[in-house]
Amino acid sequence: MTVMSDTALQAAPATKARGYWATVGRRIARDKVSMVCAFVLVLIFASALLAPWLGLADPYQGSMIRRLRHIGTPNYPLGTDELGRDMLARLIYGGRLSLIIGILPVILAFVIGTSLGLVAGYVGGRLNTAIMRTIDVFYAFPSVLLAIAISGALGAGIVNSIVSLTIVFVPQITRVAESVTTGVRNMDFVEAARASGAGPFTIMRVHMLGNVLGPIFVYATGLISVSMILAAGLSFLGLGTKPPEPEWGLMLNTLRTAIYVNPWVAALPGVMIFAVSICFNLLSDGMRSAMDIRN
């Protein structure tokens, strides 16, 4: 008797079914590319966050006698910029602003777009038509043009650049959220919730949100890649932050004059933008295939 119950106890955990998200997490953890990307991103985020405590040179302190040193110069492992400022320090400090202006628009658009899409998809009817046709107008502009038009009209500045990129991404996320919500709305469990007397707000918050957030989140992660490129691009044009603030796009712009003197130092800020952008893209791909359990 006792022997039997022991085996039964030991066997129990092995047969316990894993939940959906646990399975997805496990699949991502096994994907080497996703893990390398996650590691690189954590490294870039952590160094930007901890920049003041890393013992770096002052990113604002220039010197006319040590301008445009080459990569590998003693004390300046990544050289110096056109005003003699340490490139390593500026690249790491630059991550603070660059990551904020690149990622914040996607987060804001995620919140606004998901809400709009959820309401449009769940309520349907005239409200759906009103929201989705308004969204269509923004699709009549190529996204770069829309970002530049709004940014250009509002004028240069970090807040304006974040606002313009948020406006660019809201329609895209709303569309995804609306189509996912419409798909979930007619499922049996939503019908069951409605039959048991749940109001529309409760149904949306408790029953629908959890089912639609996954695909929207994956889509938004991929958008960060585009957002990083566009945000740095706006700064590159002079529509973002102002000198002497370290920011990758702006650094690329001010270093353009140096490409004849010290070309590879001038190209460094772009490497950072590229690295963050490609990592988010690959991570988004990894999550998408991990969530596609049927395959």
Partner: protein, 317 residues
């Protein structure tokens, strides 16, 4: 087919009107008085009031929009504050150069994208697929303005093979189809082609993979069709979606050329937009954006029609 085209055109009218409305409102979201850019700094109150009446800024917004739209329909987009020339003339001249650049980039990007996509989709999960997919993902993730700088560093600064900026010898804006001009097109065209190359590769790879896993392909093979003929069916089935993606990409290249044109000082609509922004030339800014957005809408319409022409299923949907 004609009924479908008519329906599509009717559907585009509200879009065009909303685009015009957005462009009109752009000037009104600018901080401060829209007259600031037109008036000299020491202008008297009297002159300001006169100008306000002359430009119609004293009327209610909907009336202003109506008048602006009426003039725009007749090809009058106002005059550039910086040069005094009509906005439409300035924009159309610049757009020509942007079209040249976009078409050259499309030729490179679409050819490579289709090729890589078909090969990667056909040899799915082999090393060939991995290489093609990596190239594609690098293409969509690269900050293209930075890539432009790197190209200039390699081919202009280090090797001295190709010119770094401009669209022709002597800095003239006039384009010609000879080698002297073509030299200027190579670097910006390759740089512009990278994003569409990546996106087309990814789309076509996914399409090819999906189509090859369908039952009818199995049937084609079972009836003894050669692999090359099976492939023809794949291409036929992938064409409508691939076409739509390529049309959209061409539109993005036309409308989003400002970064590349700034890097290479290419005298197109993007460079015009750049100078309009920094000289606070609002009529020019508004006009350029309107023309580019209308181009984009027209292109999308053409793509829709072309798609329906090659795939009859779309018309019914």
């Amino acid at each position: 087919m004609l009924a479908y085209i008519a329906r599509r055109i009717v559907y585009v009218i509200p879009i065009v009107l909303s685009v015009a409305l957005v462009c009109f409102l752009l000037v009104h979201i600018t901080p401060g008085d829209p007259l600031v850019a037109v008036l000299p700094a020491d202008a008297s109150q009297e002159l300001a009031a006169q100008m306000r009446t002359a430009y119609g800024f004293d009327r209610p917004l909907p009336v202003q929009f109506g008048l602006w739209l009426w003039r725009a329909i007749h090809g009058d987009l106002g005059s550039s504050i910086a040069t005094g020339r009509p906005v439409l003339t300035e924009v159309l001249r610049a757009v020509g150069n942007t079209v040249t650049l976009a078409v050259a980039a499309a030729l490179i990007g679409f050819t490579l994208g289709l090729l890589f996509g078909l090969i990667a989709g056909y040899f799915r999960d082999t090393w060939i697929d991995k290489v093609a997919t990596s190239v594609a993902i690098a293409g969509v993730s690269v900050p293209h303005y930075w890539l432009g700088m790197v190209m200039v560093i390699i081919f202009s600064v280090q090797l001295n093979w190709l010119p770094a900026v401009g669209a022709g010898p002597g800095g003239s804006g006039a384009w010609g189809w000879d080698w002297e001009h073509m030299k200027y097109l190579i670097l910006p065209a390759i740089t512009t082609s990278v994003i569409p190359m990546g996106i087309v590769t990814r789309t076509v790879r996914a399409l090819t993979g999906d189509i090859l896993s369908q039952d009818f392909v199995e049937a084609l093979r079972a009836k003894g069709l050669r692999e090359l003929d099976v492939f023809k069916h794949v291409i036929k089935n992938a064409a409508p979606t691939a076409l739509a993606v390529m049309g959209l990409q061409l539109g993005y290249m036309l409308g989003g050329s400002i970064l590349i044109e700034t890097v290479f000082s290419w005298p197109g609509s993007g460079l015009l937009l750049n100078s309009a922004i920094f000289q606070r030339d609002l009529p020019l800014l508004q006009g350029t954006i309107l023309v580019l957005a209308l181009f984009f809408v027209a292109l999308n319409l053409l793509v829709d029609i072309a798609q329906a022409a090659i795939d009859p299923r779309i018309k019914r949907g």
